[in-house]
Symmetry: C2
Subunit: 243 residues, 2 copies
Amino acid sequence: MGRIICCGLGPGDPDLMSVRADREIRAATQVAYFRKKGRPGQARRIVEGLLAQNVCEYPMEYPVTTELAFDSKEYAQLLADFYDAWADRLARLAREDNVVVLCEGDPFFYGSFMHLYSRLQGRAELHVIAGIPGMAGCWNVVGQPIALGDDVMTVLMGTLPEEELNRRVNNEDALVIMKTGRNLVKIRRALTAAGRLEEAWLIERGTMPGERIARLEDIEPGDCPYFAIVLVHGRGRRRELCE
Amino acid sequence: MGRIICCGLGPGDPDLMSVRADREIRAATQVAYFRKKGRPGQARRIVEGLLAQNVCEYPMEYPVTTELAFDSKEYAQLLADFYDAWADRLARLAREDNVVVLCEGDPFFYGSFMHLYSRLQGRAELHVIAGIPGMAGCWNVVGQPIALGDDVMTVLMGTLPEEELNRRVNNEDALVIMKTGRNLVKIRRALTAAGRLEEAWLIERGTMPGERIARLEDIEPGDCPYFAIVLVHGRGRRRELCE
């Protein structure tokens, strides 16, 4: 059995990946990464300049079709077949030499690699290297602690049903909202209803080229940024110890 | 104005700190870190072998006294004076050369450095380097994704009042419970009431020497591990895409 090493790349700045991931990526002879068809791919961009000259690259291009809705059963089947095929291929490649799989952020935190990880159990020696989650890169560039003292922090997806989003956002503590994009209008409504819109930040491409940090209330409706996360900072319960 | 650079050290394994933090720590001539009086200190242990030979070390020892309760007004004042004094000293040291402050995990995620950060505003050029949060190191060593798909993830402190802890834990999604120690009995009661005890993991010293990974239900009552986090994994909403 060969080794498949999934390297968490962190939030985007290559300098923020771990020493171990950096070492594995520089030594790799076979590198695989997800990307959208026709795009260079975010994960690949992060490792630009780190890969060895003789590396074999395997872009794993998501099956795209405009005929099927993203949440349809057919699309789910298409994706399952795609993961099945790549799991087979990576298991075969690993018999020749180690395979490094690139993963933005932290692989065990909402990472796509998990679809391969479950399929590869028992078929290769699997290693996963933790990375700084994208959200941590985002709260770092805002320059304020996301949570302090006894704050509760809730991580939510903008794809949640509106009723649940409203309920979860109605919270006095720290909030992280991912998968924004076209859900931003719904997220803004929920934060407004909870009285927290004026505390909310929108961070686009945090720690990456083209980074943008803005107050959510200043974002034009209809602006649907990519790689964007909404943050509402905790207030630091037990204030007396926190200034 | 000199530079004060707070380096997030990640969960404990020195190989998991960022490339940038590693570089700053190796180049440092002045290094400061918190520790308990009479202890070597966790942050200092992580950088063992990385520091330059001629480095000046500044252990910032928490004021300890057995006369005062940890949550008393007097103890809070003692801590505030301690942070005031160290902010003054670091600002002075930074005029000579850069000062690197070590911080376990990610500095903006429940990090003690924030007590200095707020006091040092405008008195030095402040830089904070993100790190892998301790919790991410812990879910990595368990080897299962903490959250997938549309899972909600809630981060809680074991120090919360029992009524609130019970309410927050009564949740079908991913849970991270920090500040365990003597609160473990209360945490176990809350998870039992929510019907989630058998899914809960306890990770002690995750990614560090002496690491222990156990089912929470198998931990002896009365066992109060240090540096321990309780994890309950999300189930991956939208299962059809997640296997």
